[in-house]
């Protein structure tokens, strides 16, 4: 469509965001995603009200908040709805605390990844030529690197300095973020290429708008819908990666995460199914929520799929 107007600027009637929201509302899967994510956000925000025990709670005489008795690997009961793990932690409470960690990792790593991918995608798509070539080679390089292995190495280094792996969560966030941009940057670049070809960009170039202005006032808003979708899906992916790391025992053992519960439970699969099953269900549900939300947003925002 060869429009001279910036399509994101509101014209008469309803804006494109209102239209998107209307389409989104009609899509039950998308609404389900929103509800799931909303539910988990609630749990994450009010975890201390929802969870009956403090995090990493092992009852000792010196710990007034942590009641009950030392009882590892107990099956689900009234006192412990999801049972207890090998440390005698209440699995239900640990799973609830895991929500906040999951959001922290999801949003943190995604923020890092998205900042990098926006900068690289915009620059490569807009400036083209050698800049594009160089950045795309760099992207290819990052796609080849065995990033998961490197992540494990970094965390191992951390363990040398702190025997509980404290601070590991932040390192995971940073590294997951720094290695997750290539795919997203590529998609953004091709979107920028598409938008750059539209006439209104050419028009603003001709009236002498600066590259900065064009990039951030005109191009960015027009690829925003893609960015939103990629962000949502990246959150899901980041949560999954972190869970994998913790499952292998390389995670931050001071923070209750779902992956860590897996690590604790893995050696006792045949004795205590509950230690693995409940965190797994929560993890799957949250990831599914973000995936549903991302797909719903894509259907609602991407005009090419509009039918």
């Amino acid at each position: 469509m060869a429009s001279r107007e910036n399509p994101t600027q509101q014209r008469e009637g309803v804006g494109q965001w209102a239209l998107a929201w209307r389409r989104f509302k009609k899509n039950p899967a998308a609404i389900a995603g929103l509800i799931i994510v909303g539910f988990f956000a609630f749990l994450a925000a009010f975890d201390r009200l929802v969870a009956p025990y403090p995090p990493n709670c092992v009852p000792t005489p010196f710990n007034p908040f942590c009641t009950g008795q030392y009882s590892p690997l107990q099956p689900p009961s009234l006192a412990h709805p999801f049972g207890t793990d090998s440390n005698s932690y209440d699995v239900y409470s640990q799973v609830i605390y895991g929500c906040r960690a999951a959001f922290y990792i999801g949003f943190g790593a995604t923020a890092v990844a998205m900042i990098v991918s926006v900068l690289i995608g915009l620059a490569a798509g807009y400036f083209g030529g050698n800049t594009d070539n160089l950045l795309m080679r760099l992207t290819e390089v990052f796609l080849v690197l065995p990033f998961f292995l490197i992540l494990l190495l970094f965390l191992k280094v951390l363990y040398y300095f702190s025997n509980t792996g404290a601070g590991g969560l932040e390192i995971e966030i940073l590294i997951i973020g720094l290695f997750s941009w290539p795919g997203n940057a590529r998609i953004l670049r091709s979107e920028v290429l598409r938008v750059r070809g539209l006439e209104f960009i050419e028009a603003s170039r001709q009236i002498g708008a600066s590259a900065n202005r064009i990039l951030f006032r005109h191009i960015l808003p027009n690829v925003l819908h893609v960015l939103i979708v990629l962000t949502t899906l990246q959150i899901a992916a980041s949560v999954l990666i972190e869970a994998g790391v913790s499952f292998l025992g390389f995670g931050d053992q001071t923070v209750a995460t779902w992956g860590l519960e897996f690590y604790y439970g893995f050696n006792y699969i045949s004795d205590a199914w509950w230690v693995e099953t409940f965190p797994g269900i929560f993890l799957t549900l949250l990831v599914m929520g973000f995936n549903l939300l991302g797909n719903g947003l894509r259907d609602a925002l991407d005009p090419r799929l509009r039918e």
């Binding site: 796609l143 292995l149 897996f262 993890l283």
Partner: protein
């Protein structure tokens, strides 16, 4: 065809990548601790002098860059060095060689099965867009992409494995003693051990492939040449498979090429779940034991495998898409 030219160009920019990644790994791992200390921990009779001797023996007393250069020069003669502890100090190439077979067996089988299952499902789903079948396929796939492979694996173990009274062995390549072979056959025993990991692996990577086949099929099916093929009176199966699928395979190929690397990197998780003696578990063990030569070796081998997968993809791409051939 300028295949050689392409390969040379490819190699040219990958050489610095190779040096970069190996040097990175080389320097990071040395921050993770002193392998000699770990090795001799708790052994009160070992003196500090003996430790120093051991460091000299491993070459750990030299500056990092010298160690790196030494390692590189050995690498170019095809020598990946010797493990500190793993396999009783076996050559790294031997260690990796044994494990790589197990890793590739699982990865390639899983990939092949998932493609075999996913392609017809994706095509059917795209063909009947918005039908109940399509809805079921997309929603199931969405759930599928959300289940982490280790959760799926653990659930499979809980329900199906011998560990909890089920049918299949929960892990490992083969039974420990020949007495446990089903019908006394070693081959059957290995197949029997493959069932659970391969199925879980197949299902874990199935969903994204289904969605990708579906979406690229949808993209292709609305092209004019499909309409033209249909208007020429061609059979529907010819339209869908000969013209549709052949074109839809192109993005799938890119995906497989790219993600094969990702799958290899994810091997530590899969292999840990199924106690599968592959490269991934070797890596985890090597990190925990600070067995530097093994860590380096695995990184080299996995990077190379990824690169080879990419090159194979590119060549296959040029074979399927005539538009690439001219470049």
């Amino acid at each position: 065809m300028s295949m050689t030219k392409y390969l040379i160009r490819r190699a040219l920019y990958l050489v610095p990548v190779f040096f970069g990644i190996t040097f990175l790994v080389f320097s990071i791992e040395r921050l993770a601790g002193d392998p000699v200390k770990l090795l001799t921990a708790g052994q009160t009779r070992v003196t500090e002098e003996q430790r120093q001797l051991l460091r000299q023996y491993f070459g750990l007393d030299k500056p990092v860059y010298q160690q790196y250069l030494l390692w590189l020069s050995e690498l170019f003669t095809g020598n990946l060095g010797y493990a500190y502890t793993t396999g009783g100090g076996a050559p790294v190439s031997t260690l990796i060689g044994q494990r790589a077979v197990a890793t590739l067996e699982l990865q390639l089988l899983g990939l092949a099965f998932s493609l075999l299952i996913a392609i017809p499902i994706g095509v059917m789903s795209a063909k009947r867009r918005y039908s109940k079948l399509d809805l079921a396929v997309t929603n199931t796939s969405l759930v599928g992409t959300s289940i982490p492979i280790f959760f799926l694996g653990i659930m499979a173990i809980l329900v199906l494995s011998a560990k909890t009274g089920g049918l299949f062995p929960y892990g490992g390549l083969e039974s420990i003693s020949p007495n446990q072979y089903p019908y006394g056959s070693a081959i059957l025993d290995q197949l029997w051990h493959l069932v659970l990991p391969t199925s879980v692996y197949t299902f874990a990577i199935l969903a994204p492939v289904v969605l990708l086949v579906r979406s690229s099929m949808l993209e292709v099916l609305r092209q004019d040449f499909i309409l033209a093929a249909r208007a020429s009176g061609l059979k529907e199966s010819t339209v869908i498979y000969k013209h549709g699928l052949r074109n839809a395979l192109l993005p799938l190929l890119t995906y497989v090429g790219l993600y094969f690397g990702g799958l290899l990197t994810g091997a530590p998780i899969t292999e840990t779940v199924f106690n599968w003696p592959g490269v991934g578990r070797l890596f985890v063990q090597a990190i925990n034991n600070l067995d530097f030569p093994v860590i380096q070796g695995v990184v080299v081998v996995i990077t190379l495998m990824t690169l080879v997968a990419n090159v194979i993809t590119d060549i296959a791409y040029a074979y399927i898409d005539p538009r690439i051939r001219l470049e």
